[in-house]
């Protein structure tokens, strides 16, 4: 899966979340995702970037174009060194929230993308990687 045009953005402020959304949209346009798929991917990226900022304290996002079996896709990885998620099953439950939000961030983002991987360790941080493939 050769990666090209990899870009890394810090996620430290609300403006960074806006920049991340714009970068993901640009990549989605480049590989000609349909309008609905673009919207789903950018929305998922927005939820995950906010998680990185709010729950992780801050972190970074890596966005790149990927290819597999002749299909192109956009992969976005969100990494923080925050407190981690003690109960991942609970955190992935729609409607469950650690506070403030609607509890749709993780479970909602997962529904909006084609691939979703999460790696978390209490005290070490969380990393979430998503991919959306062009049809």
């Amino acid at each position: 899966m050769p990666a090209s045009d990899t870009a890394t953005l810090p996620i430290c402020t609300g403006d960074d979340v806006v920049r991340l959304r714009q970068l993901v949209r640009t990549r989605a346009l480049e590989i000609r995702l349909s309008l609905v798929d673009q919207t789903k991917l950018v929305t998922a990226a927005s939820e995950l970037a906010r998680n990185t900022l709010v729950h992780g304290g801050s972190g970074s996002a890596v966005v790149e174009t990927v290819e597999k079996g002749g299909r192109r896709g956009v992969r976005a990885a969100f990494v923080d060194s925050g407190p981690g998620i003690p109960d991942l099953d609970l955190a992935m439950t729609a409607g469950w929230t650690s506070g403030g939000g609607l509890g749709l961030g993780l479970s909602g983002a997962k529904r909006l993308v084609d691939e979703f991987d999460i790696d978390t360790e209490v005290g070490r941080g969380t990393s979430v990687t998503v991919v959306k493939w062009a049809r």
Partner: protein, 144 residues
């Protein structure tokens, strides 16, 4: 302050047209500014035009519900207009239900909803100050 989102007065309604990609702090500021404007102008309705908005995530979706609840407490109605089809599809898949938020396809239809709601309540407000504004779902014939 959120200078990026002007709040315009349109008859007895306020029109909020979101034209730029808002960060979360701007969204919170807009909500506060709108509450103040509703009180300052005695607005009876709020229209939020999102025809230029390309994504609605859970944070902005929650803002719509908050503004709807907030304006109801301040005796105004809220209608969100102009949602793009791709945004609607994504919202449903995300699981966001926009509780308590009225929607209309475009500004014109949104204004029509507001006109109907405010026409319905005005004579009642005048005749009966103790009228409970809870029950305004259906148009009430007025002025005749």
């Amino acid at each position: 302050m959120s200078p990026s989102v002007p709040i315009l007065r349109l008859a007895d309604a306020l029109l909020v047209s979101i034209q730029v990609d808002l960060q979360d702090d701007d969204v919170m500021a807009l909500q506060e500014e709108l509450a103040q404007k509703i009180v300052d102008t005695s607005a009876r309705g709020v229209i939020i035009d999102i025809s230029a908005v390309d994504i609605v995530d859970s944070f902005i979706g929650r803002m719509f519900s908050s503004i709807a609840a907030l304006s109801r407490v301040l005796d105004a109605e809220t209608v969100v207009v102009g949602m793009r089809p791709a945004v609607a599809i994504t919202l449903v898949e995300l699981g966001l239900s926009l509780d308590g938020v009225r929607t209309a396809l475009d500004l014109e239809k949104g204004l029509a909803i507001l006109a109907r709601l405010t026409r319905a309540r005005r004579p009642l407000d005048e005749d009966d100050p103790g009228y409970d504004s809870e029950d305004l779902g259906d148009p009430v014939p007025s002025g005749s």
